[in-house]
Structure formats: C-alpha cells, structure tokens
Subunit: 268 residues, 2 copies
Amino acid sequence: MPFANEIIKRNNVTILGSGEKTLLLAHGFGCDQNMWRFMLPALTAQYKVVLFDYVGSGHSEIAHYDQVRYSSLEGYAQDVLDICEALDLQDVIFVGHSVSSTIGLIASIQKPNAFSQLIMICPSPCFLNVKPDYMGGFEKSDLEELIDLMDKNYIGWANYLAPLVMGANNSEKLVGELSGSFCSTDPLIAKTFAKATFFSDYRHLLKEAKHPVLIFQSSQDALASTEVGDYMLKQLPEAELQLIKAEGHCLHMTHPDIINQALRAYID
Amino acid sequence: MPFANEIIKRNNVTILGSGEKTLLLAHGFGCDQNMWRFMLPALTAQYKVVLFDYVGSGHSEIAHYDQVRYSSLEGYAQDVLDICEALDLQDVIFVGHSVSSTIGLIASIQKPNAFSQLIMICPSPCFLNVKPDYMGGFEKSDLEELIDLMDKNYIGWANYLAPLVMGANNSEKLVGELSGSFCSTDPLIAKTFAKATFFSDYRHLLKEAKHPVLIFQSSQDALASTEVGDYMLKQLPEAELQLIKAEGHCLHMTHPDIINQALRAYID
C-alpha cells in the first residue's frame, strides 16, 4: 500500500532543507503551510523541515475530509501522527502555531518516540473562561456569536477575525492575507475546525506532556493572553516561556527573525 | 527502523508542490537538485515534485558514500529505488538529466511499478565511440585524458568541462555555476561518478525499457549528439524525441520554459 505517498499528497507535505535534526511545522486554524515562509530561509539552512496542510486546509486533498474525524483536535493530531509514520519521523521537533500547539501536545502524548521537543507559538489549551479560576479570554456566548457569524456573513466574519488574530497594527498586507486565507477555506470545514479549536478544553493534558516545551508568548495577543501562557508554564512538567514584545497572535509571521533566533538557541 | 527519514536525510530529499501526479527529478553528474530550480515554479503548481541529491552530490550525507556502490550506475539507481521505497512512490514520472536518464532506465527496469513514464533530458546510453557503428562522441583515450586531468588539475578540469557541458555561448553565470558545482564536489567522488558515467555502455538496456520515454535532444550538444538521440529513439520500444534548437547539454537550465511546456503536454 503506497501509504507514504498517499499521506504526502493528502496533507500536501513539503520537505525542505538539510540537517541532522528534523522540524515539523504545523499551521493554525484558518491558515496553511505558506504562513511559515518567513521563517524558512533561516530554518532550512540548518534543519530538515517538514511542512503540511491539515486535511481541509491549504492544498490538502479535500476528498479525504471527514466531518467526524475533524470535529475534535484528536483528528488533527492523527494527521500529525500519520505524517510522522509515513516519513518514519523520530525525535522530531514539533513547532505548532496557536491551536496546533495543543494538537502537537495530543500527538506527542500518544506517540512520544516520534517527538523530542515541542515549540508552541501563541498557544492556548482552552480559549474559554472556566470559572472560577481560568481565564481563557472568551465567554462561551461570545464565541458562539462568532461561530454564528460564519453562517450569516462569512466574509464579514473573516474580515472581523483577521485583524484580531494578526494584530490590527501589523501590516495591512498580512491582515489581508489572513483574511483571504480564512475566506478561501470551505465554510463548513472552517466552522468545524473553529468549533474544535475554540470550544475545547485540553488543560488536563498539560501535566501529561512527555517532552520539554518552549512557549513563545506574545505580549499583546487577543486570543492567548499572558495569563494563559503563565498558566501553561505552571502546568507543564518541563517548560520555558519567552515573552515577545509584540502585538498579535502570529509571531512566526510578524516577528520571524526573533522567533528563529530564539528557536535555534533553544534547540542547539 | 526509521527508513524513510534516513533516506530523506541521506539523499537530501525535497518535496514540493501539489497534484495527483508525482515527478521525481534526478540531477546529472557534477550537479545537484538546485539545478532544477528554473523549472520548479511551473512544475510545482501542477505536480507533486520530489528532488534529491545522489549520495556524494549536493547536500547529501557524505557519511553514506560507498566507493564500491557508486562505481557503477547501478549504485545510483539504487538511490532512486531507495527514495521510491521510502516514499512509497508508485507510477512516478521520472525526469532525468544526462546520465540520470540511464540511471532512471536501470531503476525503472528493476522496479517497473514505481514508474509510469521516463523523461530524459540530453541522454546518452554510452558516451564512447564503439566501432563499427555507434558514435557516442568520444574516443576512450580522450575520456581517459579528461579523467586524468581531474587528478592533475581539478579546477582546470572543471573550468574546461563546464563551458563544454553548458554550452559556451550560454550565460557566463550558468557556466560559472556549473564549474563551481564541479569544484565543490569531493574530487575522488567526482572521479568515481565520472568513470561510471563516461566509461559505461548501457545500450543493451534500451530495448528492455518498460515505460514510454520522452527524449529532449539538444540540437548542439557536445556530450550527446543528435545521432545518439536518434539511436535511442530506434532502440527504445516506446519513445518520442523532441529536438530543441539549442546549444548545450543542460536544457533544463538554459531552456526551462520550452522543456516545461513540452513536458506538461506530454504528461497530460
């Protein structure tokens, strides 16, 4: 069975660069592998770099989309594990943006040998406020309204969310790119991913982490506040947190050089 | 055993683009995967594209170099087959430059299921003149002299061969790049590859080809004359030949648009 090639095409796997260590870069909600491009020149000079699109995102093969599988983050984690298996990846350094940090955490607990370190860019294990003591940042009703807006006015939703995620004061080009990426995703697929992302609570997994974690925390992030980063640091068995003075939730796009430098220092 | 990842690193495998069909691009003697870059923008928009460096070339892992294995083209063909196995490639469209056309032919006869078509850019099954009726273009003594020059004056050899291969009237930049690529290869490894390339005779394999072949023939090629292309066309069971009005032995670098267009028309 041509398993590797099937997964390579299904998840539009890209492999670049050369080096002893392998990095697996996992994009966030409403994004695709293209969002990593600012970090690639530096990374590919030093590491083997694997990129992919989750099924339903980017140039993945939409025929493989499964509404049930991709209704929970475990389904996306299975994409990551499929890629690791297809390429026989071991001791890979997983770099996840936003919700992919949690997806990588799930995958790394399921199959520890495939991973060596987790690097999380603007992560949050739970976007909801859970009383009395966890402030994910959002009331459930707010998020339900946002999801409803996807049905009522998809483009309006994309144009509202993109500047919130990217940081409104960052370049208009990047905000426009993110908005365009949201819009180019099939609305039902985006809504399913959005629900899996924003209504889930994976805080209980933090203590189960089997690998060292580096968190990149944005100082001004509408989706993952510094309180969330501090919470994760406390819960994770072995973690470091680097607070980056920045606006927005996409440090790999707005501050690629700072992230690259810190990432390389951490790995090496 | 992490076979896929090991081969990916050993042969510095790169995977780009997306599409139903997969192309495997194989560089020629003294080159590396970087030489395909002019063709990539068009190809990756339509196909999954796999690139690699033979062990000993480019950014392959030199620790895997084996003097015996790489003394014959069968050793290089095994690199191709290893990559096909590691990635579970089936029905791949093999695109080989120069000696890699023969390497692909060897691999495709050994494991037919992995391949669907062979595309050969400036191929030659035998560079030697074999009396009475085959004119590969070179007397054995001429080639021995050229190989001797590698020992005596490696940089002089590179600077002599590069304009001959690229076509002296093509851009100085490309000639310089090829010369630089020759020079940056370990001399012993280059010499071993050169002997395997220039002293071998694989004409007997042409009749054994199990796949349709498209030959791109340069009208003015110091290494593979139009007589050689005509000979191949006659011997191959199922073949087409496209004669490109050009100078030089590197049509994928000097005439990438023409090659891309004809290649896509042939495949689709």
